[in-house]
């Protein structure tokens, strides 16, 4: 029999409903797995009490015949979502000990749907990073290892690296993530799981610690496409508390899953064929094209001419918005305060922010402050917003010809911790394939598609039209069914 912890959302939900196990048995199994996997450093805090309380409520609901969509399912929650009564840190010293008195809309929806919380998952500090190495709570380690016999600790991707590591290690069945420039998709690709960033505005940003508000979107990370659809459905929906929330109905993504792509057109953007792309990734991309053709889709070559400007555009806009958003950390209302002897108010602000923010966060605040400063605003920020309009227009034009786009998710498999942390620019380049869809606000997902020569997972990315998460999920399902990705990391972490 399959162990409970090998099951994903659909397996747990359906098994629980069928009476194969109780919700309490599920919660106990995952709480045990979480407690035994400290070597991954995937969690900042564990919340077994929350998972157990939700499980007991689910068992009562089953007895009463009042099941909710996620009754019996425990989840990991990225520590960027405010959770009432449970510490929320954004992996920064600045918010050490911060215990929200309110609930983020996304977690409120998940808990109202019956889900429990196993703990708060580690991440790059304020979601700024691609490897989890900027966390103030130590980096998350990927459960995967290269097949070269070495034990090099690998990056789980970032910023949602606690989420990706925990799902790949089967210590949580699924988790929330957030994606500003690839923070769901790149870690999903690195760890052999599925992850979807929906259309900007699908999920409420209320109660999510803000990084770059015009880009930040919550999304779902899970073992497979079906679980991603179930979780995203429960997270999405209009929220008057977020001024950019979209007032549109949430489709039944799970019920409408179909891997039959007859009549669909899949675009292959030539600008994603970058220099120095490992041949294995290029080969996997070609394989993905054949899989989608096999599913009935017509393949069309398309051009997104401004692709190469997406990263520099992002590294103006995201730091600019971050410098503004993070101005709130002043040592007065919440979080850290550093008050040197005899310091005045201004000195307290500066000391607090110097002590609370990590180096990458400071770097981005300084870049953002510079590009928004008098005399430079038009040359940097306004210019970037114009190029962003051109990038969005590229996607609009492509989606006049095709239904979805297929690309690799990342330009490499997982790299070793420490390998790229010396040069910030080299780290930024890892998001080359994920940032354009973020700038355009369109939905995109990564699905596991194969292993490289070192035995590490590689992902393919599907990008869709605004509000067409269904098209993205369906193409993802077509790839998933043909890729037959069943590889799992060897368990070296359990105690």
């Amino acid at each position: 029999m399959t162990a409970i912890t090998d099951l994903g959302i659909a397996g747990l939900r359906d098994g629980f409903r069928a009476g194969d196990f109780s919700a309490r048995e599920i919660a106990d199994a995952f709480n045990g797995a979480v407690a035994g996997a400290k070597a991954l450093n995937a969690f900042i805090i564990e919340t077994p009490d929350h998972a157990i309380a939700a499980a007991e409520a689910a068992d009562r609901a089953r007895a009463a015949g009042e099941l909710l969509p996620l009754s019996g399912v425990p989840l990991g929650i990225k520590d960027l979502f405010c959770t009432a009564g449970y510490q929320t840190t954004a992996a920064s010293r600045m918010l050490g000990g911060f215990t929200p008195t309110y609930e983020s809309t996304v977690t409120a929806k998940l808990f109202a749907a019956g889900a429990g919380m196993l703990g708060k998952l580690n991440l790059d500090q304020f979601a700024m990073g691609s490897s989890n190495e900027t966390s103030a709570f130590g980096n998350v380690v990927s459960p995967w290892r290269r097949n070269d016999g070495g034990n090099a600790a690998l990056a789980p991707g970032g910023s949602s690296g606690g989420s990706s590591s925990a799902i790949a290690a089967r210590i949580v069945p699924a988790a929330t993530g957030t994606d500003t420039g690839g923070s769901i998709r790149q870690p999903a690709a690195f760890t052999g799981i599925a992850g979807i960033k929906p259309t900007y505005g699908r999920c409420s940003r209320f109660g999510i610690v803000a990084f770059a508000s015009s880009l930040d979107q919550a999304g779902a990370m899970a073992q497979d496409v079906r679980d991603s659809a179930i979780l995203l459905e429960a997270m999405s929906g209009f929220d008057p508390k977020d001024s950019t929330s979209l007032d549109v109905a949430v489709p039944q993504w799970e019920a409408n899953l179909s891997s039959d792509l007859k009549g669909k057109k899949v675009g292959i953007p030539k600008e994603y064929r970058v220099d120095n792309m490992p041949p294995e990734i290029d080969a996997l991309w070609k394989q993905g094209i054949e899989w989608l053709r096999d599913a009935g889709a017509e393949i069309v070559d398309v051009s997104l001419p401004h692709t190469r400007y997406a990263l520099p555009t992002y590294y103006i806009i995201a730091p600019a918005e971050a410098s503004s958003n993070l101005a709130r950390y002043d040592g007065v209302r919440y979080g850290l305060r550093d008050l040197p002897e005899g310091a005045n108010l201004q000195e307290m602000y500066a000391a607090t922010r110097a002590a609370g923010f990590g180096p990458e966060v400071k770097r981005r605040i300084l870049i953002g402050t510079y590009v928004l400063s008098a005399g430079f605003y038009d040359a940097y920020y306004t210019k970037a917003q114009k190029v962003r309009a051109l990038i969005a227009r590229d996607f609009e034009e492509a989606f006049r010809q095709v239904d979805v786009l297929l690309t690799p998710t990342a330009p490499s498999a997982a790299f070793a911790l420490g390998e790229k942390s010396a040069d910030p620019l080299e780290m930024y380049l890892n998001d080359v394939f994920t940032v354009p869809a973020s700038l355009a606000g369109v939905p995109a997902m990564s699905v596991p598609a194969g292993l490289d020569g070192q035995g590490l997972p590689l992902g393919l990315q599907i990008i869709g039209r605004p509000l067409d998460e269904q098209g993205v999920l369906n193409a993802g399902l077509a790839i998933e069914q043909r890729a037959g990705f069943t590889a799992k990391p060897q368990n070296w972490w359990a105690k």
Binding site: T101, S243, I316, V332, I365, T382, K386, A392, P424, G441
Partner: protein, 95 residues
């Protein structure tokens, strides 16, 4: 455009982040490396292009002008590093 140590100190002061001489020395080349890279946007012809305001078309909503929140002073103050007599407390700002 590139930044020198004085500019980095000025930006850090605007951002209210205390920096040491060592910090500034390390940041000058790092920031110049990043700024030099983003300057490639200068190649893009953006004449007549309006800066993007919203990625997904949305309308600005208005709500009824009524009180929807409040009377939660203790919750608001719950995470303050220093709260006194129902207020946030800060170092003296008026001499």
């Amino acid at each position: 455009m590139s930044v020198d140590a004085a500019t980095v100190r000025k930006i850090a002061s605007l951002a209210r982040i205390a920096v040491t001489d060592g910090d500034v020395e390390a940041m000058v080349p790092e920031l110049n490396n990043i700024l030099g890279w983003i300057e490639q946007l200068g190649e893009v012809d953006t004449d007549g292009v309006a800066p993007l305001a919203a990625v997904i078309p949305n309308h600005q909503r208005l709500r009824e002008d009524v009180v929807t929140d409040g009377n939660i002073r203790d919750k608001v103050l719950a995470n303050a590093p220093q709260a006194e007599h129902g207020f946030f407390a800060v170092p003296k700002v008026i001499e």
